[in-house]
Amino acid sequence: MSVLDIKSVSKSFDGIKIIDNVSFSVGEGKIVGLLGKNGSGKSTVIKMINDLLTIDAGEILIKGEKISEKTKARVSYLPERTYLDSAQTVSAIFDFFEDFYPDFDREKARALLADLDLDENMKLSKMSKGMKEKVQLILVMSRTADLYILDEPLGGVDPSTRDRIMKTILSNFSEGSAMLITTHLIYDVEKILDEVVFIDKGRIILSENAEELRERENSSIDEIFRRIVK
């Protein structure tokens, strides 16, 4: 069974079609990359999956169910922006997550915090953008979800931090769970992807197994993407 099914989803803003008849799925245990240029519609698709935007047409199913508070309990989402209250400390945010997500593992979160050189008692207002993004990533990866959705997890961070983030993602990804990653930094993530979905101008232009695609085209996913999406 697919963990995530997106069927013929469309979305318009002020009469302009932003997402046009998008369909793809994410299977259990798979890491799928939703790849596209800036403004191609990746984040719009992600927002619709997470009930942050309404759908004009089509449907989105999480393990066969329509989006509801029950499916939200099974999805762990890392948005592209900082959504946490700057006035809070990391510890207070952990308290909040413990209150609402039974699957949030505080000990795991503490271990990840130490790994990424962060202090639980530090206020978010005193942190840099990169540090805040790490905290958000820790919150997401400290949950045992069926589906992890990471929207541009590497955006805005330096190359060495990107490596640490990728290592954190891979080593804390629950077995049997699925992951959907969106990024325009394809070179950094392609080695972990099982499947790739290319999106351009709100349309899916390719959806294939990553390894098969690399072998057939005899190129990296990054190079294939640059060729196809101009």
């Binding site: 009930d51 508070e69 999805v75 900082t82 959504y83 946490l84």
Partner: protein, 261 residues
């Protein structure tokens, strides 16, 4: 789940307002102490200045309460924080009810602080007697007790506050169904809801007075006892109904889904 949400919502809606509570109460205490010596001209002048400060602080409490509640509502549902709010494993109506109840708690707390500050500053036997005499003069000829009159006034004010809050939330939700000009649309919708509710309340009062044979009293300088009670009770009922009606309208629109920034 609603209690869990309210734990965080009340804290956010209070924000920095407790500091204003503390300052207001402190100013009231200082004013009262200064007014002990009000027979001396210097203390009388200083007492007047501090009284003005207390009134300003009370206004600040009420204004900041309203602004903070609205800001928390908008930030939580439609700005960056919405990425956390709308992905919580919580029903949409629970998110909304938590905001309503938390806002009510904070408003009641703010009103209590304002009333307490006024009592601290002004209360004396003379003041109490003056208020009693004023109340007696107001309700003279209406054949109701002072207690019942005050209860009706308090309930009307309470339901008016609930209605205004409900209207404001509904206007925000309505404005965010559009993609552009959300602020101006929110203001316009609030004004539309306000005038719609006021006109409806007036019509209801007119109908009630007409049924009682007192329609002409609507524009009269002085009302009869029956007319007065009709207007008061219809007004109270109307505001209670509006606050509930606007909640259901808000909930209906909110459940359809959001389009965050």
């Amino acid at each position: 789940m609603i209690r869990r949400l309210m734990k965080y919502d009340v804290k956010k809606m209070l924000g920095f307002i407790p500091y204003i509570y503390a300052i207001t109460l402190l100013l009231a205490v200082i004013t009262r102490i200064i007014n002990i010596g009000k027979d001396i001209q210097v203390f009388s002048i200083i007492g007047s200045v501090f009284s003005s400060l207390v009134y300003s602080a009370i206004a600040s409490v009420l204004i900041n309460t309203f602004i903070t509640i609205l800001a928390v509502f908008i930030k939580s549902f439609y700005k960056d924080e919405s990425y956390l709010t709308h992905t919580l494993p919580v029903k949409k109506e629970q998110l909304l009810i938590s905001k309503y109840l938390s806002a009510l708690i904070v408003v009641l707390l703010s009103v209590a602080v304002c009333v307490a500050s006024l009592l601290i500053m002004l209360y004396s036997d003379t003041f109490f007697s003056t208020v009693k005499a004023l109340l007696a003069a107001t309700i003279a000829g209406f054949n109701i007790s002072g207690g019942l009159f005050i209860t009706i006034i308090v309930l009307i004010v309470f339901f008016q506050i609930c209605t205004l809050m409900s209207m404001a939330f509904t206007a925000v939700v309505k404005a965010n169904t559009y993609n552009t000009k959300r602020v101006s649309r929110g203001v316009m919708w609030f004004i539309a809801y306000y005038f719609g509710a006021m006109i409806t309340a007036l019509l209801l009062m007119a109908v009630a007075l007409a049924i009682g044979g007192n329609i002409s009293e609507l524009l009269a300088e002085q009302m009869s006892q029956g007319g007065f009670m009709t207007v008061m009770l219809v007004g109270m009922g109307a505001y209670a109904a509006f606050s509930v009606a606007f909640y259901f309208l808000c909930n209906h629109m909110f459940k359809k889904g959001v389009n965050v920034d």
